[in-house]
């Protein structure tokens, strides 16, 4: 009976085996691409509050993007994009881009180093951690790494950073959970075949630990070089990217899509674009729609749009989502040098065919800023860890309790990957704090009132459908219209 029915029933794709592996079948091949915008991106000139243009102009007249130049978004007449971002405009209009407004965390820090660390380690600003949020996830999913890797269960790198250094976001307790590759074509040749392995004796103390670490990195580079070459050879870019060197982000994403297409099972890719620390001269001397920041946003937009197009042509669009982040936004007021100093909240982008809502939160309220005088700051609407929560829990399928552990506590969903808008607390229907998506539900959305919540309806509302696990309270003769 060894080769009989009993064994067949336990093939890898069986429900039983999947549940033993604690992953769902749909989530095993999912990929996350993290795009780091190094320096603190000026979100207020990237995502434009069309509904508050006079206040916007007052805050930053010397760098303001003219309203007429803003790129319009389908079904959203209050928000526009910087004129350099035509690629992301199309992506938004296709339902593949989610703008998450005013992302930050309580007691924000304005040091590049500390703020970057907070984003990458996913801690409260009063705490520190030695591991990154993505690294913790990978370490939990692939215990023991790097000892015993690559192996038959995971023959590919867990994470890849395009470049020469690996980011704090990928740190596990024993070091980086990822590897760095600058060029998949030359990597194999550079690494070469592994030679004989020296005896494992180690001297004491830090020197011994460093030797052990270096030997491990040597083994990994040899171990992974073949798999990476195989994927790089098998993968094809089907979109037309700019010539190498023109757009460094596009160059990196081009490698990523090729490796995914080539069958690499790597879960997380980390790429970056630098230059966002625009204290000075962020716009051109004569044309505010041009200049250093416009160039960066153009690269970001073109890079993501080409990458998404490539994935679609490769037929692997549904496997991949991406997110952008920067250590902080910039001051709402500009300074005298046509630049902006370090600030607080700014939008994140989440992109891919898997996103379910085009906006999370609302435009920042420019008449309700923190700070004084000419040092006004944009307030937080969405804690960045709520986005991480949805990526870990819903995209990778880590499960809620595991996700809470990885993020050190529970953060409410923003429904990034669920078409259902849910209540997060009792409150008014029109209050953005009532809803997971940080705004009132749109007429084309499904809504769930969660158990224990009472939502007060003070006007008639239209929805796709309503799941009532809590209560609705009507403050007058209002209706809920369901379009189905």
């Amino acid at each position: 009976m060894i080769d009989g029915f009993g064994m067949k029933a336990l093939a890898r794709d069986s429900v039983l085996v999947q549940s033993l592996l604690q992953t769902t079948a749909a989530n095993t091949d999912r990929v996350l691409v993290i795009i780091y915008l190094n320096g603190g991106n000026d979100g207020l000139n990237m995502v434009l509050p069309l509904d508050q243009y006079s206040a916007y102009n007052t805050l930053r007249s010397n760098i303001a993007i003219p309203q007429a130049s803003a790129l319009a978004l389908t079904g959203n007449d209050t928000t526009g994009l910087h004129p350099a971002m035509t690629g992301l405009q199309s992506l938004y209009n296709d339902g593949k881009l989610s703008i998450v407004h005013s992302v930050s965390y309580p007691n924000p820090d304005q040091s590049h180093y500390r703020a970057t660390d907070i984003w990458m380690t996913a801690v409260d600003s009063t705490q520190t951690a030695d591991t990154g949020w993505a690294g913790r996830y990978l370490e939990d999913r692939y215990p023991g790494y790097p000892t015993g890797y690559p192996n038959t269960d995971m023959e590919d790198p867990l994470a890849i950073q395009i470049g020469y250094l690996t980011s704090t976001a990928l740190l596990g307790s024993q070091g980086s959970m990822g590897i760095a590759i600058s060029n998949p074509d030359s990597f194999y040749q550079l690494v070469g075949a592994g030679g004989a392995t020296s005896p494992g004796d180690l001297p004491c103390c830090d020197a011994g630990e460093l030797i052990s670490f270096i030997r491990q990195q040597q083994a990994l580079s040899v171990g992974y070089a073949g798999e990476i070459k195989k994927a790089a050879d098998a993968g094809k870019n089907l979109a037309t990217y700019p010539t190498s060197g023109v757009n460094s982000l596009a160059d990196q994403l081009k490698i990523v899509s090729r490796l995914i297409h080539g069958g690499l099972k790597t879960k997380i890719y980390f790429v970056s674009l630098g230059g966002f620390d625009t204290h000075s001269g962020q716009v051109d001397t004569t044309d505010n729609t041009k200049g250093a920041h416009a160039t960066l946003l153009g690269k970001l937009s073109d890079g993501i749009a080409l990458f998404q197009q490539d994935l679609k042509l490769q037929g692997i669009e549904d496997k991949v989502i991406g997110m952008t982040f920067s250590e902080f936004g910039r001051r709402a007021n500009s300074n005298n040098s046509k630049g902006t100093d370090h600030g607080v909240a700014a939008p994140m982008f989440v992109f891919g065919s898997g996103v379910k809502h085009s906006t999370i939160g609302t435009n920042p309220n420019l008449s309700d800023l923190s700070g004084t005088g000419t040092n006004k700051e944009i307030k937080m609407q969405i804690d960045f860890r709520r986005v991480y929560n949805d990526i870990l829990n819903d995209w990778f399928g880590a499960g809620q309790s595991k996700t809470d552990t990885l993020l050190f506590r529970n953060f409410p969903t923003v429904s990034l990957f669920s078409n259902m808008v849910e209540s997060v607390a009792s409150g008014d229907w029109t209050d953005k704090n009532t809803w997971t998506v940080g705004r009132m539900p749109f007429p084309n959305e499904f809504v769930r009132i969660c158990p224990g919540h009472t939502v007060t309806v003070g006007q008639s509302v239209t929805l796709r459908n309503l799941k009532l696990d809590g209560k609705l309270k009507f403050a007058g003769n209002y209706k809920v219209k369901l379009t189905g």
């Binding site: 740190l171 760095a180 020197a207 270096i214 630098g274 620390d277």
Partner: protein
């Protein structure tokens, strides 16, 4: 353990090499021998005295230009050559670091520390004269007084440009420099326990105190001078009030310069820096960074209490008053510095690997003035790009924080990953294959200068009475290994590793006695190519493997 007490034992080869590896970019064998038997205090005095304080300035290294070999820094600004001339400053510096006169000095490594502390970059500053003045400020004051250094750097044209100080004006200040001055240059963002050392309002107040500074003649073709200027009308004359983190210090409102100051900006700057240097965290922040640079990136609570705090008290104390040299001497002659646990406790930076290898294997520095083509080939075309690929481009850090391995979790481990390890092996392999011809006719000798190690000549030098094959016994595998590994690694090899290197790498599994036969065959007829290749192959395999060992990456 008596942490900062002076280490009094005479230096052995091992401790001398440790001192040289940390205080310079790496030793030569001669330097190690020279320091052996000296006390740490004597050795460190030499490391200070030996500095070449006035090297001849950089020259144009492009042999296709009419100005090749000529100095350029004293001449009018030439925008067409801006990139080259800025880059040649780096290449010039490598030559001083790699100096083979066997007079080891600590000035260059310490200057690099300050350059990585007060970061500006050639790429952003983008005027080679500014870069040079900034570099000179750091190098001249590297062992001087920290107050002088911070004051000078705050008005330095390159720094004014790099952190937008020149655009910091009354009314709407640009906070960039004011923030980094506190976070990165003096007090640091947090104390050891993780508490914030200053507030956001302190950043804004400091920015106001720093308003009004500018520079002249930036990128002006044909200009022969440039300088820092102060524009009183752009300076904020109101009082600046700081938080309790600075004991609620107030820099008073000033419309005229007080006695002893050229202008109100100087007076505000002086008050500001006094306030910053009076912050108890400032000396600790600097001493912690020096400890990580010279001793061990891992600062435990024990080290904080017993090394950082007392060293900081000494640094800022009234008798020392922020003089740098006594702190460097104290640290490099301390018992904690020579503690066995700290030997090999840092991974070599790309400079330590590249410059250190050139030094350790006695690669001559071609004379820059008379043989600039060879000089450029070694330090520019080769070494510079290798170090850059390994993520260390001097005076071109990726951010104002400096190189990641000096501040980020993981510290020196960050230098090593799957890609950079491969690049390091590729670099050390070049010492074996010797494909880099630095000069086809070195010194007109008719002999080419090929970078690398002549392993055969080295082994031959170990053999007494080379031609007397029957009368004088052959050198053994063990002799070769002992010579090749002498002072090469920071840590001691285990016997199992030595056996592995001989039996598996050098002899490839055949008996050690075969070496005697092969070597004697070669001694008998050294002109026989097959016999020569047979031994050369084994020696190359051995040295190549040793240079690829994790142990070679430790500093």
């Amino acid at each position: 353990m008596p942490y900062l007490d002076t280490y009094t034992q005479p230096l052995t080869a091992k401790t001398a090499a440790h001192l040289l590896r940390r205080a310079t970019f790496g030793p030569t064998q001669t330097e190690i021998t020279g320091f052996t038997g000296k006390t740490a205090a004597q050795a460190v005095q030499l490391l200070i005295q030996n500095a070449n304080v006035s090297p001849s300035p950089p020259i144009d290294l492009d042999s296709t230009k009419a100005t090749a070999g000529q100095t350029y820094l004293e001449k009018a600004f030439n925008g067409d050559r801006n990139f080259d001339f800025g880059t040649y400053i780096k290449w010039w510096w490598y030559g001083i670091m790699a100096d083979q006169s066997n007079k080891p000095a600590l000035l260059e490594k310490l200057t690099l520390f300050w350059q990585n502390h007060f970061v500006t970059t050639r790429e952003v500053v983008d005027d080679y004269r500014f870069v040079w003045r900034y570099f000179q400020l750091l190098r001249t004051n590297a062992l001087g007084n920290f107050r002088t250094l911070v004051t000078g750097i705050s008005k330095d044209p390159a720094m004014l440009r790099f952190l937008n100080g020149n655009e910091n004006e009354k009314g709407k200040p640009n906070e960039n420099y004011a923030r980094e001055l506190q976070e990165l240059f003096t007090v640091g963002a947090f104390d050891f326990a993780g508490n914030k050392n200053y507030t956001e309002d302190d950043v804004k107040a400091a920015a106001r105190a720093l308003t009004g500074w500018k520079y002249t003649n930036y990128w002006v073709n044909g200009s022969t001078t440039f300088d820092t200027t102060f524009t009183a009308t752009k300076h904020d004359t109101d009082a600046k009030v700081f938080s309790a983190k600075y004991n609620s210090t107030t820099i008073p409102a000033r419309t005229t310069a007080p006695a002893g100051f050229a202008n109100t900006g100087e007076a505000d700057l002086s008050d500001l820096i006094t306030m910053l240097l009076n912050h108890p965290e400032t000396p600790k922040f600097i001493c912690r960074k020096l400890y990580r640079w010279y001793v061990n990136p891992n600062v435990t609570q024990e080290i904080e209490t017993n090394v950082i705090v007392p060293l900081a008290q000494f640094f800022a104390g009234s008798s020392n008053n922020y003089a740098i040299q006594p702190v460097i001497v104290k640290l490099l002659t301390s018992q904690i510095f020579f503690d066995t646990a700290n030997i090999g406790a840092i991974i070599k930076s790309p400079l330590e690997l590249v410059i250190g290898s050139l030094k350790f294997f006695d690669q001559p520095v071609p004379p820059m003035a008379t043989n600039y083509a060879a000089y450029k080939k070694l330090f520019g075309d080769f070494a510079h790009w290798r170090m850059r690929d390994m993520q260390m481009d001097v005076i071109d850090q990726p951010t104002v924080f400096g190189y990641e391995p000096y501040y980020q979790t993981g510290y020196s481990r960050i230098w090593m990953n799957t890609t950079t390890i491969a690049l390091r092996s590729d670099f050390t392999d070049a010492f074996i294959w010797r494909w880099l011809v630095v000069d086809a006719n070195y010194y007109g000798t008719g002999v080419p200068y090929k970078m690398g190690i002549d392993v055969l000549a080295w082994a031959t030098s170990l053999q007494t009475n080379f031609s007397d094959v029957t009368g004088t016994p052959s050198i053994t595998c063990v002799d070769v290994l002992e010579a090749f590994t002498k002072n090469m690694f920071a840590t001691d090899l285990f016997q199992s590793q030595k056996d592995f290197l001989i039996d598996t790498i050098m002899m490839q599994g055949i008996p050690r006695t075969s070496w005697i036969n092969e070597w004697n065959n070669y001694r008998t007829t050294p002109t026989n190519t097959n016999r020569k290749n047979a031994v050369t192959y084994r020696l190359q395999n051995l040295m190549k493997y040793m240079l690829r060992m994790a142990e070679y990456q430790l500093c």
